[in-house]
Structure formats: structure tokens, C-alpha cells
């Protein structure tokens, strides 16, 4: 049977024998783009981390110490939730995760300030979670900095400097910070778009492998599939393509706007996702060739998500990764796609800026297609020589 005949028959059978008859496949093809994006978007819907719980131990009990506690509680970064009687109690609260930071105001705090000496405020921060540390700690730093400026100004006035000049002399060089592209530095907007892209990848990989596994289990693969397994798989992929695209459109045009995930230009993001899917398609075919049944699709392919996200450079700078990880991860379409997504979701909608990543996606599409063709060629030779294959055929 000719390759094209097998291909078109497989496209048709994907709808008549799988998508209308195999609930286990349909549940995943529909459930994956519905369930994961919605749950993850809901999980991160608060977007920013604020009001980190703080315990203040006030052993000074002065107006100054009360002011520090009050100012700290007034910041968006921290909330004073506990006022333990002793430092030991507070540190226990920190160890048992009731608070993320302990601020100790020592008994001589106001006395030292009154005597124009330097006073210490001691802070214990649970830095095991860098995200919450990065929010809560700057809260106390800002409170103390503002107070220092105020006290320093008063001391200069006492030293004989005019009030206005004293204000100018306190911390004379300041940093005026402008945060470009993502002024809130919120975590949800930073993370979720990347996960949405990986959901599309998993939809394609698992969807195709699951469908192929189903037909292999049931023995109802299209006619000619045994002789032309690769054409059969490409046909299945083409048959599923409408479902994949629908899933991708639902994620980008429904979920992302509903939760306010940032995309500078919908058109650019659609183009990027489209190219990403083209590059992922031959990879999905290659993987599906080695999946014997439905279980294997799930058991094996789920492991790809976490390492691919971590190695892509989406969160951690790629130039700080070992060379071998950069080399391995550059094989997978998720890497350039996630890098490009970082740009066009936050920085600019201009695809020209991410041209190197788009070119790499194009090369990967070609490379994976060639690899799939090469595997098909090897299999054909092995078949001819030995009359059998070691990989499962329908």
C-alpha cells in the first residue's frame, strides 16, 4: 500500500476509530488543555506575593520600637502577625513556619539612639524560600532606611546644619529604580506563560502516543499501518492537529486573557506557538513510534516537563548552566520557544527581536523531521534484512 494512502486513511481513522471511540484518549486531549491551564492559572491568580508574616519581639517598648513595628506592618511586603513575649518563642515560630521573619528590637534601642550611638535591630529571615525572602526582607530594610534618614537628618540639624541642607546631606546618592517591562515583578505573570507552552507540548506528545498506544492495544490500526508505521503516525498526528490547535487557541485566547497573563502581542504569541507546534510534531511522531501502549505514554512522557522547563533558561539564566545542559536542552523545541516567549510575553510583541530563537525552532523542526526519517529508514532496512522489527508495530 502506498505511503500517502496509509497517511490519509490514518487521518480519517483517527476520527472514526479513536477520537469518537476511545474515551481515555479523548479525556486527555480535551482535559489536558482544559484542566491544567485553568488550575495553574487559578493557583497563581493572586499573581504577587505580599504581606509576609512577621513576628516582632519588642524588648524596648519605646515610642521608637512601636514606630518600627507599626511602619513594618504598614508596608505591603510584611504583616506583623505575632508579638511573642520572648525571642525564643519567636524563633520557634520561625522554625515551625508560623512566620517567615523575626524582628528583634533590643532593650537598649531607644536609649542608644537618644545617646546618639548606633543601635542594632536584629532580623532572622527564613531564606529557604527565596521568593518570600525577596519580598519580606526588603520590607524591614525600607522601614529602617527611612527611619535612619529621619534620625540622621535630625542629628545633622543638632550638629548645626540647616534642616533643608540636612535632608539633602542624608544618603546624598540615591538609586532611582525604573523597572522596565514588568514593573510589579509579580510571580504568576513570570511563570504561568511558560507552563502554558509546556502544556501544549505535553498535549501533542501524550495525545499522539496515547492514541497510537490505544490502537496498538486494540489492534484496530488503519490498514497498511504495519507496513508503513511512520506514515500511519504522521497521519494520526495530522488527524489530531485540529484538536491540538483548538487546545492551543483555548489556552491563548480564553485562559490567558481571562486571568490577565501578559502577552504583548497575541499575533506574535500565536505565531510562536504555531512554530513551536511545527517543531514539536516530528518529535511527537518519533516518541510515539516507541510507545507500545497507553500506559507507557503516561508513564514515560510526563517526566519531560520539569527538566525541560528548568533547563530552558526560562527562569534561571542559561549562561549559568553547565555546558552539557545547554547542549542537551538546545535539542528540544521548548528551549528556544520558552526564551522567545519570555521576550514576547513581557518585553515586546516584535517577532524580529526573537529571530534567533525562531530560526533555531525552524532548524529543530527540520532536524527532528530528518531524525524521524532516518529512524524510518533504519527500520525499513532492518525489516528487509531480518523480516521483523524490535519496536512495536500496530
Amino acid at each position: 500500500m502506498k505511503t500517502l494512502t496509509v497517511f490519509f486513511r490514518s487521518v480519517r481513522d483517527e476520527w472514526t476509530r479513536v477520537l469518537t471511540r476511545a474515551p481515555s484518549v479523548v479525556v486527555i486531549l480535551v482535559g489536558l488543555p482544559l484542566f491544567y491551564p485553568l488550575v495553574l492559572s487559578w493557583l497563581y491568580s493572586a499573581d504577587s506575593v505580599v504581606e509576609r508574616p512577621v513576628a516582632v519581639v519588642d524588648d524596648d517598648r519605646s515610642a521608637l520600637s512601636r514606630r518600627i513595628a507599626f511602619d513594618l506592618d504598614a508596608t505591603p511586603e510584611a504583616a506583623v502577625v505575632l508579638r511573642p513575649a520572648t525571642l525564643d518563642d519567636a524563633l520557634r515560630d520561625l522554625e515551625e513556619h508560623r512566620v517567615e521573619m523575626v524582628v528583634w528590637l533590643p532593650p537598649d534601642l531607644s536609649a542608644r539612639i537618644a545617646h546618639r550611638e548606633q543601635a542594632d535591630v536584629r532580623v532572622w529571615v527564613g531564606a529557604a524560600n527565596v521568593l518570600t525572602y525577596g519580598i519580606g526582607y526588603p520590607g524591614i530594610v525600607n522601614v529602617v532606611s527611612n527611619l535612619n534618614a529621619e534620625i540622621g537628618r535630625d542629628r545633622l540639624v543638632v550638629a548645626g546644619v540647616a534642616p533643608q541642607a540636612a535632608a539633602n546631606r542624608v544618603l546624598p546618592v540615591r538609586t532611582d529604580t525604573r523597572i522596565a517591562f514588568h514593573p510589579t515583578l509579580s510571580y504568576g505573570s513570570f511563570l504561568v506563560p511558560g507552563i502554558l507552552l509546556l502544556v501544549v507540548q505535553q498535549l501533542m506528545l501524550i495525545g499522539l502516543a496515547l492514541s497510537a498506544g490505544y490502537q496498538r492495544e486494540k489492534g484496530n490500526a488503519s490498514e497498511g499501518a504495519s507496513e508503513r508505521p511512520w506514515a500511519w503516525l504522521w497521519g494520526k498526528l495530522a488527524g489530531q492537529a485540529a484538536v491540538h490547535v483548538a487546545g492551543m487557541l483555548f489556552i491563548l485566547l480564553v485562559v490567558a486573557p481571562a486571568f490577565g497573563w501578559p502577552f504583548r502581542s497575541t499575533r506574535s504569541v500565536l505565531a510562536l506557538f504555531g512554530l513551536f507546534m511545527v517543531a514539536t510534531a516530528p518529535m511527537a511522531v518519533l516518541f510515539a513510534r516507541f510507545v507500545p501502549d497507553r500506559q507507557a505514554a503516561f508513564q514515560v512522557l510526563m517526566y519531560l516537563t520539569v527538566p525541560l522547563l528548568m533547563a530552558s533558561g526560562f527562569a534561571w539564566p542559561r549562561d549559568q548552566m553547565p555546558t552539557w545542559i545547554r547542549d542537551v536542552s538546545s535539542i528540544f523545541p521548548a528551549t528556544p520557544a520558552l526564551q522567545a516567549l519570555r521576550s514576547i510575553s513581557m518585553r515586546t510583541g516584535d517577532l524580529g527581536v526573537v529571530r534567533p530563537q525562531l530560526e533555531l525552532l525552524g532548524w529543530q523542526a527540520a532536524g527532528w523531521t530528518l531524525l524521524a526519517a532516518f529512524a524510518a529508514g533504519i527500520e525499513a532496512i532492518v525489516r528487509r534484512v531480518s523480516g521483523r522489527v524490535s519496536v512495536p508495530s500496530p
Binding site: 548606633q118 529557604a128 535612619n148 529604580t177 508513564q299 520539569v306 548552566m321
Partner: protein
Amino acid sequence: MSLLKGSLLDFLRGIGGQVRLLVATPRYVVILFLLLGGAWLTADVYRERVVRDAPVVVIDEDGSHLSRTIRLFLGTCRELRVIDGSAGGDREDLTSGRVAAIVRIPADLSTRIKRGRPADVLLTVDGSNILVARNVMKAVAKAVGTVSAGAELTVLGRLGVTGDRAMATAVPIALVEDTTWNPSTNYTIYLVPGLLFCLLHVYVLTIVSSVFLAGGPRGASRRAGALVVCLAAGFAIGLLFLYAYLPRLGLASSSPAGVALPLLLAFLGTDTLLALAISAVVPRPLTALQITIIIAMLSLMLSGITWPLDRFPPLLAAAGRAIPFTPFISAAQAFLHRPTALAELDGHLAALGRQAAAFGGIAALAASVRLAIGLAARRRAA
């Protein structure tokens, strides 16, 4: 007696069959390879531990001693790699991601300071990667703040305020920071244990759930033997992570094995019961496997190690607390990073115990219902 012997033999056959399955079946070997390889790769991503050498363009329009000092201080920050401003520094560099930030030192900086006026150093930072942006902002603020304090001390010296008095005027309240459990705000400590044990969690749930698939061991004794092997395999890999993978990254457990191992065992045992409960409740084994893996994949997000639980919608927070990975990784953050006694983690053990009781109860109830239905059907048939 012969019933007991038969059960024991079946139990041993279950053990033997599951061992063969896990180490000699291509599919399970591939899963094991993906687990160990994926964990190795994930851990190695964070080998540098902290953000360093973020490219920052410094445009020094002042060219004074003060501005050169700022530039020097910026250059000494581990987080920054200073790039000469003449090589670029426009918005396009930020848009393309070539640089992480631009620091512009204004032309009148030193003049303003000399005239007793404050001056601003303008930092424009690329906020699209919040991790890099926060580190850059912190480093620049520290460098500029240090120079600023120096400038203030110089002014105080001219006013006759020197030594400790000057320091007490410039910085009346010193903030002494004790970064408990993670002194250098190391990202390896923050993320790697969670990622590794989450992969182990996925693995254990997968292999336990797979015991109930068609072709798996039949009968309670054989299945019990297979489950013991799943638990043992998870425990062995957990030991590998604890005593080989993590120490390789400088993350040796601060607590003795007497603390870490009971928690690991309790976690894996509860995981086994979770997969068992899902398999008992969901009639189709394949659907049970799918549900189990979907729960497993969400566990990292739901555990609260990256995104704090108090920012979750209440329903998802409750779901997170019901997954064994959540109390385990919370306990691991304690016992890995500081010397901890087992008694200090009794809250986490109690949470795992409650989960284990609930999952075990659900599994037993579902099994009883199935048994009752089977008996009723048999009676009707008789």
C-alpha cells in the same frame, strides 16, 4: 497453615515479579533512567547556586572620582558584570535581553554632592525575569548605598563629627541579618530538594499505580509483595538523592539519618497508600494511573515550596495539604538546612499519619465495597 504458606509464597513471588519488572522491563528501565537523569539535570541547572554576572551597562556621564567609585563598587558585586557604557546601553539592549539593566550616572552627580544637594543614579532594570531583576536591584542598591554612606561620612567629617559618632549619624540603626537556613540566599537550597523529591514522588506514584494495571500481579499477597518492592525502590532512590545527589551540590543533610529516614519512609508509605486509594476507588486501572500522574505532576506547584500556601485559593490550598509531598518537603526544608530532632517535626509526621490513615481507610472501604458487591453477585448467581 498451608493457606499461610501459600500467601507467603505468593508474597515472595510478588516481590520477585516486581523486581524483575522494575529492573528488566525496557519501559521501567526508561522511566528509571528519566528519573535519575532528569533529577541529575535539574540539580545541575542550579550548580552555580546564586545569580551572578548579570550583564549591566554602566553609563558614566560624570567621569568624576565619585562616579568611578560607584562603578568600581558595582564591579565588585558578584551579581553583576559591568559592561562599558560606550558599548551600548539603550532600550534596545534591554528589549533584546542582551543586558539585564542599565545604570546611568548623571553628568552633574559630583557637582550636586559638592553643593550639598542629593543626586540620583538611574537604574533601569529588565523586570521580565524577576529572579535576575531582584538580584540586580539589590546589588545596585547596596553598591550605591555604600558609596552614599561614604559621601555622608565625608560631610560629617567636615562638620567635626568623626569615628563612631559619624557612623551613628549616618546609620543610626544597623540592620543585622541572620538568613536562617539559607545564608547566601542560595537557589540550590531553595529549589533543588523540592524538584528532586517531587520527581521521586511522581516515580513512586507511577510504579505503585502500575501494579494494578492489566498484566500486573493478581491476588492480595502478590500485590502486597509488589507494593513492598515499590516502596523499597522509592526508598533506595530517596537515599541516593539524600546522600549522593544533594551532597554533590553542597547540600548534605544537617540532621542525622535518624531524622531524615523516618520522614522519607513515612512520605513514601503515604504516597503508596495514596496511589492504592486511587486505584481502589477508580474502577479502570488506566484511568486510575492517569489521575494519579496528573495529581503527581501538580504536587510541586501545590506544595507551597515555590508559591506560598497563603496565596493559594482556599480549595487548592486544601488540595495541596492533602498531598503527601507537601508535609514531607516542608519537613525536608527543616531537617536538610539545620540540625533538627525528630520530635521537632512531629507536626509534619502527624500530617503524613493523618493522610496515611485517610488513604488507607479509603482503600479499605473501596475494597470492602467491591468485595461485598462481588459476594452479592456470587450469591445471586448461586
